[in-house]
Symmetry: C2
Subunit: 142 residues, 2 copies
């Protein structure tokens, strides 16, 4: 009885101290949510810079992009193939990681321009290298 | 010649000082980008709270949700039917607007809990009323 109680206690201890074990699909879904967030907010910024939507939220969109960019590295750290990610992400991790750092810096720079439409427009091309990174590390979208 | 120059100058002045005129589809797309951002980040939070993904980014996700919530009212202000929005948004604007304010307050409250998984879990239900608001103001999704 005592032994069985101890075993039960040990079992509970083991269960509650287990590391989080993400299922591969969870990892893929998670990083997809992060990248789609960036895409949705970039599209919103695009509508503003094309003068189609008033710029009231411009600073808020750039702030969201800057904070979301900081989520990306952790999201891609688990070496889980699948989704739109090419395996080169992990074979060239140093380069990919550096590009994420540049995305973090670039979006922070854009966010610092706040509501200034002209300043943001001027910085966009140098701050964001979406296409170059996607061409290298993302599978062609269907 | 002088008159034509003046007319040209007046024309240019008129064009450059025209208010932004959003096409209806732009307005619909814009608010859809804002709401999808919330959805993507909420899904990421969900994976963390279900213990499927480590909580490293939890505070950053909640921060993004809080800033994105502040984008929503401006996005829905133009009375443009379409997309998933029900017309009740504009016929009951005072109520809809109050719910957006509650979303802003609720997400700010969640963001204040930062990386504290237990605190965030405990606050989720009271902080977010997604379903209630969607049931009232969003067309059923296909």
């Amino acid at each position: 009885m005592t032994r069985s109680l101890v075993l039960t206690a040990l079992g509970l201890l083991l269960i509650t101290s287990l590391p989080i074990r993400a299922d591969d699909q969870d990892v893929i879904d998670y990083r997809t949510h992060v990248m789609k967030t960036l895409g949705e907010q970039l599209d919103a910024v695009g509508l503003i810079l094309e003068n189609k939507i008033p710029p009231d939220n411009l600073g808020a969109h750039l702030k969201v992009m800057a904070v979301t960019a900081t989520q990306a590295k952790k999201a891609f750290e688990p070496k889980v193939q699948g989704g739109n990610a090419k395996s080169e992400i992990w074979t060239n991790w140093a380069d990919f990681s550096k590009r994420i750092d540049e995305l973090v810096a670039g979006t922070a720079d854009l966010a610092a321009a706040g509501q200034n439409v002209a300043a943001v427009s001027g910085k966009m091309r140098s701050a964001l290298k979406c296409k170059s990174c996607h061409d290298t590390y993302r599978k062609p979208l269907k």
